[in-house]
């Protein structure tokens, strides 16, 4: 069973190479080897050497939030890039030290707000590790469904907004329509669309309602069609290809050293996915492939994300087929509340409910780091417990933050208009970067 493969789209717009394979389109004409790394010759030599300072953001539609880039330009070529972040800093990690474990889950919605259920589940997994809880089989499968749905939703937003940045408007409408279907499913499951707070320590906020799976099946059936429509719009579109190929190249060694993760790392040719290499939630039992790019440019990041959405659909199909019956929450009175009808009729259950909510469950002394393969990359939650109901330290390992830290390396030497494409390809969420 081939589980990993390298993806490469054959572009029909140029001829065949010496090895008989279709060639990729070089970005600029001439003999630059297809890389836009050299600046075009200056048209007005007397202006050469005079640098300009330009500021993008924090309020700019192409910075995907409140990112601010200060660029030093030589003509149109970026000589230097200084990113500024922190405009959205809210002190999540500090607040987490004053909250019980279940009370932190709403904060995980708000760090990477495009991947809410994924964050909720990742946090719950970390807390369950501290409590030594093994979740039920049904919960494991439901969590996989939630994680993959939110991966698709996040990648759809990425595709739509990046399309707009580069000049393609239609995929934005199509992808947001499909994202709407996913959010309708979330709403049916937990009652919220964006900030879901779907998980609890030891299970989920709710089991899926009757008939929900039919909606999921309908989505799984119709979504690949939309995806292939977007694929037809973009993958061989000469404007799209011309604006993405050869930009922001990171080679595999650099990508690892700069700490890139997720599609960014895999597009650079590192065959590494936490779901395969450090599995959780029984991901090793699902049959899916990990797309790996070999050029490390914006175009390969796009290809990797498109393929990941298809693979997520495959995982969801398998999860639907194997979803077992049974309880969704563990039978552990330390963390799980008694049923509501008991809490309102029996004194013991009411005391149990009261103590669980007011004092909160207390994990053993210890620490846990749980990292999941979020849409942006390695999303980690590190928790340290001193035996009280509130963590001593709650640390978010934000993938966007580390990915963005490589942006000076990626944009320097490129044109100003390519900065927008490269920045979009990182798939940043400022809520997660600034926390």
């Amino acid at each position: 069973m081939a589980t990993k493969r390298t993806i490469e789209v054959e572009l029909s717009t140029t001829g065949l190479g010496a090895d008989g394979k279709p060639q990729r389109i070089p970005l600029v004409s001439g003999d630059t080897g297809g890389l836009a790394l050299q600046a075009p010759p200056a048209l007005e030599p007397e202006l050469e050497g005079e640098h300009m300072l330009i500021n993008i953001g924090p309020q700019h539609p192409a910075t995907h939030g409140v990112l601010r880039l200060v660029l030093e330009l030589d003509g149109e070529t970026v000589v230097r890039c200084i990113p500024h972040i922190g405009y959205l800093h809210c002190g999540f990690e500090k607040i987490g030290e004053y909250r019980q474990y279940n009370q932190i889950i709403p904060w995980t919605d708000r760090d990477d707000y495009l991947n809410c259920i994924g964050n909720n589940i990742a946090f719950a997994m970390g807390a369950e590790k501290l409590f030594g809880i093994e979740i039920t089989p049904r919960c494991t499968v439901l969590r996989v469904v939630g994680m993959e749905l939110s991966r698709i939703a996040s990648h759809l937003v990425w595709m739509g907004t990046t399309g707009i940045d580069i000049g393609a408007f239609t995929p934005f409408l199509w992808s947001f329509q499909e994202r709407e279907n996913i959010y309708n499913l979330f709403e049916g499951w937990v009652g919220a669309r964006l900030t879901t707070s779907a998980s609890r320590v030891g299970g989920m906020a709710a089991d899926i309602p009757d008939g929900w799976l039919d909606g999921l099946k309908a989505f799984v059936r119709t979504f690949p069609k939309t995806l292939s429509e977007c694929d037809r719009m973009l993958t061989r579109n000469s404007i799209w290809v011309g604006r993405t190929v050869g930009l922001g190249v990171m080679n595999p060694e650099e990508a690892l050293n700069y700490g890139l993760s997720g599609p960014m790392l895999r597009a650079s040719g590192v065959d590494y996915d936490l779901r395969k290499d450090f599995p959780y939630l029984d991901y090793e039992t699902y049959d899916f492939e990990v797309p790996v790019g070999v050029h490390g440019d914006v175009y390969d990041r796009y290809l990797v994300r498109m393929e990941e959405m298809r693979q997520s659909v495959r995982i969801i199909e398998q999860a639907i087929a194997r979803l077992p019956d049974g309880p969704v929450n563990v039978d552990d009175p330390r963390v799980i509340l008694p049923p509501k009808h008991k809490a309102t009729s029996e004194m013991e259950s009411m005391i149990h409910h009261f103590k669980n909510v007011m004092e909160g469950p207390r994990p053993a002394i210890g620490e846990s780091y749980v990292a999941v393969e979020a849409p942006k990359g390695e999303k980690g939650y590190y928790m340290v417990s001193d035996g009280t109901a509130k963590p001593v330290r709650w640390r978010i390992r934000p993938p966007s933050f580390v990915n963005l830290s490589a942006i000076p390396k990626m944009v320097e030497g490129h044109l100003l208009s390519d900065v927008i494409a490269i920045n979009a390809s990182i798939d940043i969420v400022m809520g997660e970067i600034d926390r």
Binding site: Y369, R395, V402
Partner: protein, 231 residues
């Protein structure tokens, strides 16, 4: 245009097939083999090795941190190519030292290792930067400085990252920092209103593009006089 050679994960021979860990004990279990290797290589600089919830913690001497991290990265038998995270922990018990934490991953051997270095109490918080080994440490260490005030020696550009450079209330993730901040709301508002909104660039940024000369005269005078810029 030929592509890169793909780096595969878990290429070391004899690795077990990765599987979701189940029924992990609170303490004990198999330690990461790198812990033994570290003991053999560094001896007294490795203070303790313990396994908590299946994760290996290696407590090291903070003075040797850079050597140890560099060895883990460079040695082919360890090959920790990936630095996941750099952070610190301060405990509620004020007697306990602040701990530096590094989360390292070996892609080749599929290993995960946590290094801890307690920083001596009652002394300035200082540790050597691992930026020369991992470029990903750049922003992670800046954030750690921003939040805890730990100074990373050898970091190329150690300044605040999430908070603004003139932030005067201290280091927010320290336990002696109140949740609402040190200053009153009125003082915070006063400072926000008094910030100079036209000086949006740091002196460094102004100098790189010779933009200083293009600023209004009064602003140039204020910046020359030592007034900090707004960001």
């Amino acid at each position: 245009m030929s592509g890169f050679t793909v780096i595969e994960a878990g290429t070391a021979p004899g690795l077990p097939t990765p599987a979701t860990p189940k029924n992990v004990p609170h303490r004990g279990g198999d330690a990461n083999p790198s812990a033994e290797a570290l003991k053999a290589q560094f001896g007294a600089a490795i203070a303790r090795v313990d396994v908590v919830w299946g994760e290996t913690n290696v407590t090291i001497d903070s003075a040797r941190a850079l050597d140890i991290v560099r060895w883990l990265h460079d040695d082919p038998s360890q090959s920790y190519e990936y630095l996941s995270d750099v952070t610190a922990v301060e405990f509620r018990d004020r007697g306990m030292p602040i701990e530096m934490i590094w989360h390292l991953r070996s892609i080749k051997y599929r290993r995960f290792l946590r290094l801890k270095a307690p920083l001596a109490t009652g002394q300035p918080l200082k540790i050597s930067s691992v930026w020369s080994v991992y470029k990903s440490a750049d922003w992670l260490e800046r954030e750690c400085y921003d939040m805890f005030g730990i100074v990373f020696e050898g970091h190329p550009d150690l300044r605040r990252i999430l908070l603004w450079e003139q932030y005067a209330e201290g280091f927010p993730l320290r336990k002696d920092f109140p949740l609402r901040g040190r200053f009153s709301r009125a003082e915070q508002l006063r400072q926000a209103l008094a910030a100079n909104p036209e000086a949006r660039y740091s002196m460094e940024e102004l100098s790189i593009a010779d933009a200083f000369q293009e600023l209004p005269l009064d602003m140039r005078a204020r910046i020359r006089g030592g007034e900090s810029t707004g960001e």
